[in-house]
Subunit: 244 residues, 2 copies
């Protein structure tokens, strides 16, 4: 079996990504919500019809596409009409099935509508550029983590193909999600995330420690949003896999 | 006095930037050194003569310039020939004197030659894009922190202008650096950085904790490189201030 599909390797990879996500959320939380940057033409960028943040995100993705970021099996762009890579294509390992699954639109919406109000003060501090640069880091980290569900699903599928095939052919979403769920792993994950959030989220030598983000909020972002969307990816991936 | 020049405000700002720098260093350390990305045409980008990392950095700075990042008093670009901002200019507070001081070339060299070998394994893991994206985060964080020396210098100058004026007119570098140095603050800073590095740099629930970067290395990066370069900025700023 490809190393990238060994479940324990996938899990260490997901654990490593927790830091990236928590660090990125804490970085974003130092600025106010600055909702203007998410509204179409809320901060006018001449010649651009969308939001300020989307302008920065789409320009950043163009650069990253030019150095072939989105040819890797664990990377998914948020924007369309990206340029072809400038670099010669690299022969990447592609241990999962090629599918069209990309739920970045949903991730983007969830981030702006639900996560930002949970972690940022509902104010405008004028730090539009800094906030949007942090947004891009969070969004890329979330997208990678959530689409890693493809690796999780593939690794579980290849161990019990027959059991999954029945659920897939019955289009049994509830059954598939149940089969993919490992409650004890999830509980361990949520405990670990809360611990990391409290460790990373405060000044270690402050006399009166104030959390940059309440650990429970980060735990909630994981339980209600990240894990849920990861399962959505796992489900969509298996369904498309079944049809191919 | 402008709030941004109150020394205690500058210090909290610098403390907040420690997280950003430590998080960014830890993120970079998950990949190998991948020295190829720092060598001119080490990873060929068609039509570009420099290194892969510089390609990504210069393209990123073009976008950031277009949203007027480099019109703020605490931001300094690494590359030249940047486009004019697309956005209407914003009237920023500019509490320090306008100078030409920008030591990003030195920061870049120090980062590639000294910091990367301290934090990354001397190997090539092929993660060129991810490494370079992390590099940009570290470099921007270092540049901001180090050029904050301008605020430190200005805030110290305005309290004792006469004492500084003599040293400036004598071009007494050693005397100026001595006058700017507060040993007890520095010692506190280094202790705090080491504590943060050990708190943020390990899996909090690992049975056998392994540091992603040894806390002493981060402390050394601060004492030998960041503080030293910050003082260089403070000195250059005061000298140019004196001539203006």
């Amino acid at each position: 079996m490809n190393d990238e599909l060994v479940l324990s390797n996938i899990r260490s990879n997901l654990i490593r990504q927790e830091e990236t996500i928590i660090f990125a959320l804490i970085e974003r939380a130092q600025f106010s919500a600055n909702v203007k940057i998410y509204e179409d033409e809320g901060v006018t960028v001449p010649g651009y019809k969308g939001s300020f943040m989307m302008y920065l995100l789409s320009e950043t993705e163009k650069i990253h596409a030019s150095v072939r970021r989105y040819t890797a099996s664990d990377e998914h762009p948020f924007t369309k009409h990206l340029p072809d890579p400038l670099l010669t294509p690299m022969v990447y390992d592609w241990p999962i099935k090629m599918t069209s699954v990309n739920i970045n639109n949903k991730i983007l919406k969830t981030y702006v509508k639900e996560i930002i109000p949970m972690i940022c003060e509902d104010k405008d501090d004028g730090n539009y550029g800094s906030s949007a640069v942090c947004d891009i880091n969070v969004l890329q980290a979330l997208s990678k983590r959530i689409h890693y569900g493809k690796f999780v699903a593939e690794s579980k599928y290849i161990v019990e193909p027959a059991a999954y095939d029945i659920l897939i052919s019955n289009e049994d979403k509830k059954g598939l999600i149940e089969k993919l769920t490992d409650k004890s792993v999830e509980e361990k994950l949520l405990k670990r995330v809360a611990l990391k959030a409290s460790t990373y989220g405060q000044e270690p030598d402050a006399e009166d420690p104030v959390f940059k983000i309440e650990p429970n909020i980060i735990k909630k972002i994981y339980s209600d949003l990240i894990i849920k969307m990861t399962k959505e990816v796992e489900y969509l991936y298996l369904m498309e896999r079944g049809r191919s």
